[in-house]
């Protein structure tokens, strides 16, 4: 993927000052936080906006007629508009607030899948999926008698599209569900190509953008997808809120997912009718303050600019791959820096990732060790687990240097 030169280069050191988490020492060391792909840290601006909402405008939304309820409703709906603008959705009613991207995908798998899948149908995912975009489809396929097919990976950790015709010959493809950026290898996937293929087959395309939305512009109209799932917590927002975007005509035709308060039009003993979009899919009290925080996070990221963030992450990935390449006995997974986001997965020969991560933690370096919720991918790589270092807009090169230093210690302890 070609990287366009951003208008202005991002100043990570200045950005870092916005994040209170870095104001502490960990085990007596400065914190090298290299686990942003699991969840990002939070800027003061976002935290303050949530506190402000709780302090001045908090009440339950929508039905209240008093001033606080009106303020809260305006704040929630204002946040929805910010999410709409972020993903360039044609209509704000297509933005459904959910807990996270996992819930967004479950919503589609249940509400669309249970009524549209059956024997002879095929759901296509990839070997690169997070469990969140794999397990729901495996389960709903099992419930409906549909089959699950996988797009395999090349040795470089990129999708191998050479066998698409063979997959199509296995049945009627109804759903193609892939991520845009792999949370495990950082691979940037050719989503537009897969959307076109899915539509040629008469299938819907579900895009897990949890790992791409924090780092690059996600434009649902340019992608052409039918559903897109994102999580706030990976993009400087709070945990507990995410969004599903879906096409109006699909969302209207779907059954609701969760049932209860707020999602109804009228409730009678004989029959309940569903509310309009997006309320039909938002049963119960909304994550109001979290949505406000999500909106503030979007403002924060947009002020810096997604082009600048994406370009900076490519820079960090290239630097990390270079520095890690200096170490003996280190296996790196995934594609070259120019075709990946700021995520680097690796293994140290003879040392289990848990031990690597533990020894790094003692030196103030936080990385993730494990299967990264990608057990099918780990099977493909022939390992139980990997180490993963991931970067974001507040990452500085010194943190990567601290990682490399730490890995020297790992080698010494296990020598």
């Amino acid at each position: 993927m070609a990287v366009q030169a951003p208008k202005k280069r991002l100043d990570a050191r200045a950005i870092r000052a916005d994040f209170p988490i870095f104001e502490q020492l960990i085990h007596g060391q400065p914190l090298a936080f290299l686990d942003s792909a699991a969840s990002s840290q939070k800027p003061r601006q976002m935290l303050e906006e949530m506190t402000e909402f709780y302090s001045t405008s908090y009440a339950n939304v929508h039905r209240g007629v008093y001033v606080l309820a009106e303020r809260a409703t305006a704040a929630l709906e204002g946040a929805r508009e910010k999410v709409r603008a972020l993903v360039n959705a044609p209509d704000v009613r297509e933005i459904i607030f959910v807990r996270n991207a996992t819930e967004a995908i479950n919503l589609v798998a249940y509400s669309w899948g249970l009524n549209n899948l059956g024997p002879g149908d095929l759901v296509v995912v990839t070997e690169l999926e997070h469990h969140s975009n794999f397990v729901p489809w495996q389960y709903i396929a099992g419930r409906t008698g549909a089959k699950l097919a996988m797009i395999p990976l090349t040795d470089e950790g990129e999708l191998d599209l050479s066998g698409l015709d063979a997959i199509a010959a296995q049945g009627q493809i109804k759903v193609v569900a892939t991520n845009q950026v792999s949370n495990s290898l950082g691979t940037i996937n050719p989503v537009e190509k897969l959307v076109a293929w899915a539509h040629d087959q008469g299938a819907i395309f579900v895009c897990d953008a949890a790992q791409s939305a924090p780092h690059m512009t996600v434009d649902v109209q340019a992608l052409g997808a039918d559903f897109v799932a994102i999580s706030a917590h990976k993009m400087c927002g709070p945990s507990g809120v995410g969004a599903l975007w879906g096409r109006t005509e699909l969302l209207r035709a779907m059954e609701p997912f969760l049932l209860g308060g707020h999602m109804i039009n009228s409730v009678r003993l004989e029959k309940t009718t569903w509310g309009e979009l997006p309320h039909k899919f938002e049963a119960g009290t909304a994550p109001m303050a979290e949505a406000v925080g999500f909106g503030a996070a979007i403002d924060y990221l947009q002020a810096i600019g997604f082009d600048a963030i994406e370009a900076y992450e490519h820079e960090l990935a290239a630097y990390a791959l270079g520095r890690l390449g200096e170490l003996d006995g280190l296996t790196l997974y995934g594609p070259p820096a120019d075709r990946r986001a700021g995520i680097v997965s690796f293994n140290v020969e003879g040392v289990h990732p848990h031990d690597v991560a533990q020894i790094l933690d003692m030196q103030g370096v936080a990385i993730r060790a494990g299967h990264h919720c990608c057990q099918p991918l780990m099977q493909k790589l022939g390992v139980a687990a990997t180490n993963r270092a991931s970067f974001y807009l507040y990452t500085v090169r010194e943190e990567i240097d601290q990682l490399v230093e730490g890995l020297h210690t790992v080698r010494k302890v296990f020598a």
């Binding site: 533990q358 780990m378 296990f414």
Partner: protein, 144 residues
């Protein structure tokens, strides 16, 4: 002594690099396979009983895992050899933790317990005794 020397003390690294009782066993009297769903680590445990059918004569283990899980399982095989199956099935985890002798965070405690939990499941299965509460579901969910 710094923190990683404490945790990765010589005896742990020695058991990790030279695991005792490492290998598989044909026709084991008791066996089970356990997984740590947090990290995907796997261990298989095999037990041979002595002629009395009660005493643990030999224990072997195979699988993959971190230094803590592999060393703890290696130490476990040394601890339980010659003891009665029924006693080992009820072994207090603190006995093993004392042997390991390093401070463990909750996540690493799971690593350290993988071998013992799997051994207990193997023994209960072989003896037909019900799995205790903490292990109920373990058999079904994580063991094949």
């Amino acid at each position: 002594m710094n923190e990683f020397d404490q945790m990765y003390r010589e005896v742990i690294l020695d058991h990790y690099k030279n695991p005792r009782g490492h290998g598989e066993m044909e026709n084991a009297d008791a066996e089970a396979e356990g997984q740590n769903p947090l990290c995907g680590d796997e261990v298989s445990i095999y037990v041979a009983f002595a002629d009395d059918g009660e005493t643990i004569d030999e224990v072997k283990f195979s699988g993959r895992g971190c230094a803590i899980s592999q060393a703890a399982t290696s130490m476990l095989t040394e601890m339980v050899r010659g003891r009665k199956a029924i006693d080992v099935a009820r072994l207090d985890k603190d006995e093993l933790l004392e042997e390991i002798g390093i401070p463990l965070t909750p996540v690493r405690l799971k690593c350290a317990m993988l071998g013992l939990t799997t051994l207990k499941v193997a023994l209960h299965k072989a003896k037909g005794t019900p799995l205790p509460d903490g292990l109920a579901g373990f058999d079904e969910l994580e063991l094949s």
